[in-house]
């Protein structure tokens, strides 16, 4: 690529952990800056020019203003990258979607609820076309680097599709089921190098579902390991309410 690609970073509703993770590339940051020009990043800088090639967007969409902004970003960006579970699949924010929104607001703000308009938490792809996903909560740094180098080379990044279990087995991790815990790894998209099971914790499903997940079979596994059917689905919903609602219909 002749000129350096111009990169802009945006955030919507989320915890900003993904953006922080982008600042956490201490060992790579200077190399990365060799390849791109960062032109917009509210969390880290003041400037706001309007032109960019690649937009990295964190967070889910949850207010009418979000929808306006994301359309504007899409219009200006050549490549739009959804970063992190909130942006890719709605993430944790999606959990509120299963409860009637008015009730939730009432509970929180009481009579003041009309002060703050809000919508169900949506992934970016529910509103605009997303070109690339970097999954994870927070976004998987390893995957971000792969996507980054791919975009710098002008090629399409490859999205992993197989389950976290594959990576666990490649690393010969002791399966957390063996420790009497449960795990969502069997239906969760890999690409994180089985980060949580590698540290003895169960996979909470933050990278979204594998394509065409066999959810009935997953439910059976969770129930066999001591969860009630209700609890099993709650665990599956943690990051994936939007996706699961979509699969249902």
């Amino acid at each position: 690529m002749a000129a350096k690609p111009r990169v802009a970073i945006f955030d919507f509703t989320g915890c900003e952990g993904c953006e922080l993770n982008q600042l956490n590339f201490e060992n790579q940051l200077l190399d990365m800056l060799e390849h791109v020009d960062i032109v917009e990043w509210r969390e880290a800088m003041d400037d706001r020019p309007g032109e960019y090639d690649i937009a990295f967007v964190e967070g889910s969409l949850s207010t009418p203003d979000c929808i306006k902004r994301i359309n504007e970003i899409r219009r200006r960006a050549k490549v739009l990258v959804a970063v992190g579970a909130c942006a890719v699949q709605g993430g944790i924010n999606g959990m509120k979607n299963t409860q009637p929104i008015e009730e939730v607001r009432e509970e929180v703000y009481g009579k003041d609820k009309y002060l703050f308009p809000t919508l169900p938490a949506l992934p970016l792809s529910a509103v605009v076309k997303v070109d690339v996903n970097v999954r994870g909560c927070p976004m998987t740094q390893m995957e971000f680097l792969k996507v980054f180098t791919a975009l710098v080379m002008g090629k399409k990044p490859v999205e992993p599709t197989s389950a976290v279990c594959v990576e666990c087995k490649l690393k010969e991790n002791e399966c957390v089921y063996e420790k009497g815990m449960i795990c969502l790894g069997p239906v969760t998209r890999g690409g994180c190098d089985a980060h949580c099971p590698s540290f003895g914790q169960y996979c909470t499903g933050c990278r979204g579902m594998v394509p065409e997940p066999n959810l009935k079979a997953m439910e059976e596994i969770l129930v066999k390991h001591g969860l009630s059917v209700n609890e099993a689905w709650k665990r599956l919903h943690l990051y994936n309410t939007h996706e699961l609602e979509g699969l249902k219909s």
Partner: protein
Amino acid sequence: MTMNLDINVEHLTRVEGHGNIVVNMRDGKLEKAQLEIVEAPRYFEAMLKGRSFHEAAIITSRICGICSLGHQITSLKATEQALGLEVSEQTVLLRKLLIHGATIQSNVLHAYFLAAPDFLKVGSVFPLVSSHPDVVVRALRMKRLANDIGEVVGGRAVHPITPVPGGFTHIPSADELKELKRRLVEDMTPDLLATVETLKTLAGEIPQFERETEYISLRCDDEYAFYDGDICSSDTGRVSDAMYREMTNEFVVSHSTSKHCRHNRSSYFVGALARWNNNHDKLCDLALQAAEALGLKPGCTNPYMNTIAQVVEAAHCTVDSIRIIDELLERGLQNEDPDQEPKRFGTGVGATEVPRGILYHEYTYDRQGRIIKANCIIPTGQNLENIDDDMKKLVPEILDKSKDEITSYLEMLVRAYDPCISCSVHMLDVDFLE
């Protein structure tokens, strides 16, 4: 002298989350001076309702990626108290080490990446890459090491993996800890001294502004309190963490999706400066020397000095991390199973000092170990009223300056609090009625 003034900074930059600064003055009368929080509310209560105690910390950690470790540890403390789960001394030491790592990383990030561009009059850290490469490389090195503490002990710096109710799912090896210690001694300590030198040259850029207020932090008898302690007010003294509601008194204001707090006065201050004012007697020598060099004095009432207090704390956390690692190595690391057998089901409160101030979580569990009631009060929410009060005092004092200068003073003021707006709109304060 300016008689009419309208300032509206939309989506303030270099802070975590979305906030606007709005100031209106009509005929010399200040009508409005406030930080409006426009971040979309997150509704964590809807998420926590009915969730298992295994998930509480996983979910609340997502309130904020910047403060994820703080939320996690605070949540674990509340859950453990509610369910009667015991943690080992090793667990406590590892948690304190994690908090130090997170505090260093957050304070370094704030000082170098968010605040320093103000002192150097640039828009972001990026121009500094070419103008001050050694400073940037140093900042990155410090941040990396702080994050590596999180990665080695917590499995990940943002949303750590290993801390769970009752202990850890994985503990670091002795070799990993030794390597961290080596870097803390050989890299971090000289980098801190260099940071102090750099800041000394910029000390003149810190605005002179004083406003007396109430300072609230944890306080404990045997150390500079982060993990354990009572709630301590500079006005009213110490109370136990169970009294946190009396210390916070949340209320809704129309210009903020985050609730505000007050205690003894119209507002109070939490964060590094509050901790410094309340606990400076517990700091290690290196930190005290840094404070001395940078002109930070006990009883400081200049909110802009919060950034300096953060650097002083980074020094303390570094020295104390080395001490904790020595203690862990001396004891010998044990593979322990976390205690996850609840002894009771009730209510528990956790209070921890996180980089931006004191953080409270409170949960009530049902007999299946599911959350029926949760409350969480975060530092930035507690500071918001204090920020508004500061602005109301500051604006009239600087009316002789240009509008741009006034704006930049206000932006710097808000940034000095290192506000974490993502956190502040968590909205967790509800009783769930099943």
